[in-house]
């Protein structure tokens, strides 16, 4: 079972009733799997903050509830996170955050253990799929025991690894009674001061609890080396240092001081092996526990591996065949991808583009090289306003904020309102492909269906923008290059805020409009390579002509528009 599937299973067995999340690699499959259990209500929320708030409401209302997100999603949800720590819960509440060391699919490498410490919340970290299930169940019990949400931290190699899981039965739970209690649930200063006292008391109780919890485990072997570790790092340590004694922390916050001191006293040399930040190490050093090594051995960046641990401890490593000189293969936009149209026009017009998070981030790579900035979800629209204010009208007239439909609804709408309100005349282009693509095609409020594939109200993006006060809203087919160019020229020239909606469904989903592959006739092709500017993986340069790879081409026809000589043809209804 995939780690994420196992988290869903554990939550199911614990009697969870509601799961609300926003997709984000490597957390997405948890919620998708929860949706397969008829006993659970699951939903895709518009963003992580909303997901967490839905979850808090459900927990206050007496049900067991869970929200799942990637590490950067916790930043979005940090506002409710810090205060739900004060209010506590009623039904158990679990917050799953999936960190991405080595940034396989992320924009930073932040370590969410610090969130647990800052928000005074207990955090568990499983080390395989079985523990994903076991710890998810334990997290709900602990949440109710301490009347506080519990965080469950995963990393990519736990979330996306498969290992054996023993299935248990679901324990159905009654909805707990609800009682209005403003001293607990209305966090205005007078009440919050009282709750802060409760938070600190609770943390003391949790600190006492973790000393004896079975989730932390001492494995005494050879006392020459003792290692403190958690999660995937535990597996690497067992692999690399099979004889070493280990304190495996299943609860990574709060830390069991007495247990750690006791373990330290039993081993001759104490080490900490942890991925990313020196979270354990800093605390141990603050407690005056002397370490023989930590981050000085394993490093601060990227993910660990058994080999990296072997190297850190000066062990012999397996001999390697030499790395071969070869070509990189970065991810690219699929053949037929609707993002290709807008980007080829933006590149042609040499626009400055503030970009955003999604498949269309790939437009930053050569040969399109059409994106100037990518920061975080929704940042494109805000950043373009800053550029306009800093660099003036002319720069603004050569700048476009590009954002996907899902990301726009996640956190772009508020920035658009900001532009209208402050009269910052930016141009926004919404790449509306009707789906959240990069994470694996999760539906969103613009898709017209929900997580179960049932019909759902479809947000009208153009009407939404108009309601925000944008007078200039145009919708163009993403493959209408002439139309896009005209719209971009007109809208960037305007001093008003304008929105161009480039609309066409994701090529991977839109099987209906697939056509037979196109062909380029070498007798007609003049070798100008204009068609290659759209950067389609199906169009290859072969000597002095282009060749269209029939295994790649989906017949989208975008290249037809780029050929002045009519060399490209074909593309019948498949």
């Amino acid at each position: 079972m995939l780690g994420n599937e196992a988290v869903a299973r554990g939550a199911y067995e614990a009697g969870v009733r509601l799961v609300s999340s926003y997709p984000g690699t490597p957390s997405t499959e948890i919620t998708e799997n929860c949706a397969k259990y008829p006993e659970i209500y699951a939903e895709w929320a518009v963003n992580e903050k909303v997901a967490m708030e839905v979850c808090v409401g459900a927990a206050d209302g007496g049900a067991r509830a869970m929200c799942c997100m990637k590490h950067v999603g916790v930043n979005v949800a940090a506002d409710p996170l810090f205060t739900v720590s004060y209010t506590g819960v009623n039904g158990g509440m679990v917050i799953v955050c999936a960190d991405d060391p080595a940034m396989h699919s992320s924009q930073n490498e932040q370590d969410s253990r610090f969130y647990a410490r800052s928000a005074h919340l207990m955090m568990l970290e499983p080390a395989d799929s079985q523990e994903c299930s076991d710890f998810a169940r334990a997290a709900f019990d602990l949440s109710e025991r301490f009347d506080a949400p519990v965080m469950l931290r995963l990393t990519t190699r736990i979330a996306h690894a498969r290992s054996m899981v023993t299935l248990g039965e679901r324990r159905e739970r009654e909805i707990k009674p609800y009682q209005k209690d403003i001293r607990k649930n209305v966090m205005m200063p007078g009440m919050a001061r009282g709750r802060h006292v409760v938070v600190e008391e609770r943390e003391k109780e949790q600190a006492a609890f973790v000393e004896t919890s079975e989730l932390n485990r001492v494995e005494m072997r050879d006392p020459a080396i003792g290692v403190i570790c958690s999660g995937i790092a535990y597996q690497y340590v067992r692999e690399a240092l099979p004889e070493a004694s280990v304190l495996k922390l299943g609860i990574v916050y709060p830390l069991p001081e007495k247990l750690i001191r006791e373990f330290a006293s039993k081993v001759q040399a104490l080490y900490v092996v942890e991925e990313l930040e020196p979270f354990f190490e800093t605390r141990l050093r603050a407690w005056g526990i002397s370490l023989a090594g930590g981050k000085n051995l394993t490093g601060l960046q990227g993910e660990l591996s058994a080999r990296r641990v072997e190297e850190a401890f000066g062990r012999e490593t397996a001999p390697l065949y030499p790395a071969q000189e070869t070509l990189n293969r970065p991810p690219l936009m699929c053949a037929g991808c609707p993002h290709r149209g807008p980007y080829s026009v933006l590149a042609k017009l040499k626009m400055h583009v503030t970009g955003d998070i999604g498949c269309y981030t790939l437009g930053a790579l050569p040969p399109l090289s059409a994106v100037d900035t990518v920061l975080c979800m929704g940042a494109s629209i805000g950043m373009s306003q800053g550029f306009a204010r800093a660099r003036g009208r002319e720069f603004a007239q050569h700048t476009v904020a590009v954002i996907g439909d899902s990301t726009f609804l996640h956190s772009g709408v508020t920035s658009l309102i900001n532009a209208v309100y402050n009269r910052t005349g930016i141009t926004v282009m919404i790449l509306d492909n009707r789906i959240t693509g990069m994470t694996g095609h999760q539906p969103n409020p613009a898709s017209g269906r929900n997580i179960y594939g049932e019909p759902a109200p479809e947000i009208d993006l153009a009407a939404l923008c108009r309601a925000c006060g944008v007078n200039r809203v145009v919708t163009v087919d993403s493959f209408d290059l002439a139309g896009l160019e005209k719209a971009l020229k007109e809208e960037t020239a305007s001093d008003e805020v304008s929105v161009i909606i480039a609309r066409r469904p994701c090529a991977l989903l839109d099987r209906k409009s697939r056509k037979t592959p196109l062909k380029a006739d070498p007798a007609v092709c003049r070798g100008c390579f204009s068609c290659m500017k759209i950067s389609c993986p199906a169009i290859e340069k072969r000597d002095k002509h282009v060749w269209i790879n029939p295994d790649q081409c989906v017949g989208c026809g975008l290249c037809l528009e780029t050929c002045r000589f009519g060399a490209i043809g074909g593309g019948e209804k498949a």
Binding site: R162, R329, M438
Partner: protein, 197 residues
């Protein structure tokens, strides 16, 4: 059976399915197994690598550099890329398909010539035109099953349990064509010179 396998290919080639079938096989044999997958951004036509570890009491879900008994490569450039994962004395099973990276498509770089020969100078290589074999079997997308068939025959294993593992993972509508591709891969190895060479 104790075996560490690295499966490498290009997004969309079916590497994930291959790793899941090996996972199901280990389960049928009552062995411990861990499979590590990559989801998200790299699946968009990028290089995709998955790890399968079969044995008893497995800790890390990852195969380390220099740790793979077998590398199953779906493409030539990817086979080159994966060489450092191979254990000394391990074997590389390579589908000899060429999928041009963007730098080749745009004419900025040439697809490496003699990739397989370069590999043969370093290690044991079993290469085959898995794409044609898959096409003959009736489904071009079953390259993954062809390569698994080669692996099964290379290991000298009874195919019956492997068939069962395939049936566990593959949708029933595609089972027949996939088993056909698997058996074609097996036969190819058994009839090949490399087996004797």
């Amino acid at each position: 059976m104790k075996m560490d396998v690295v499966i490498i290919g290009v997004g969309g080639q079916g590497t994930l399915l291959a790793s899941r079938i090996l996972g199901a096989l280990a389960d049928l044999k009552g062995l411990d197994v861990k499979v590590s997958e990559v989801h998200g951004m790299s699946q968009r036509g990028g290089s995709v690598i998955t790890y399968v570890r079969v044995g008893s009491d497995i800790h890390s879900p990852m195969v380390d550099l220099g740790g793979a008994d077998v590398v199953l490569a779906f493409e030539q450039v990817e086979a080159l890329r994966a060489l450092p994962y191979l254990k000394r004395g391990g074997v590389m099973i390579v589908g000899d398909q060429k999928i041009n990276p963007l730098s080749v498509i745009t004419g900025q770089a040439a697809y490496p010539k003699g990739a397989l020969d370069a590999l043969r100078q370093q290690c044991r290589v079993l290469s085959l035109d898995a794409l044609s074999i898959a096409r003959e079997a009736g489904e071009v997308r079953s390259v993954n099953l062809v390569l698994l068939g080669v692996l099964c025959a290379y290991l000298g294993e009874d195919p019956e349990l492997w068939h069962e593992a395939v049936a566990r993972v593959v949708k029933s509508a595609f089972l027949e064509v996939n088993l056909k591709a698997f058996d074609a891969g097996r036969r190819h190895y058994e009839e090949s010179e490399e087996r004797n060479g």
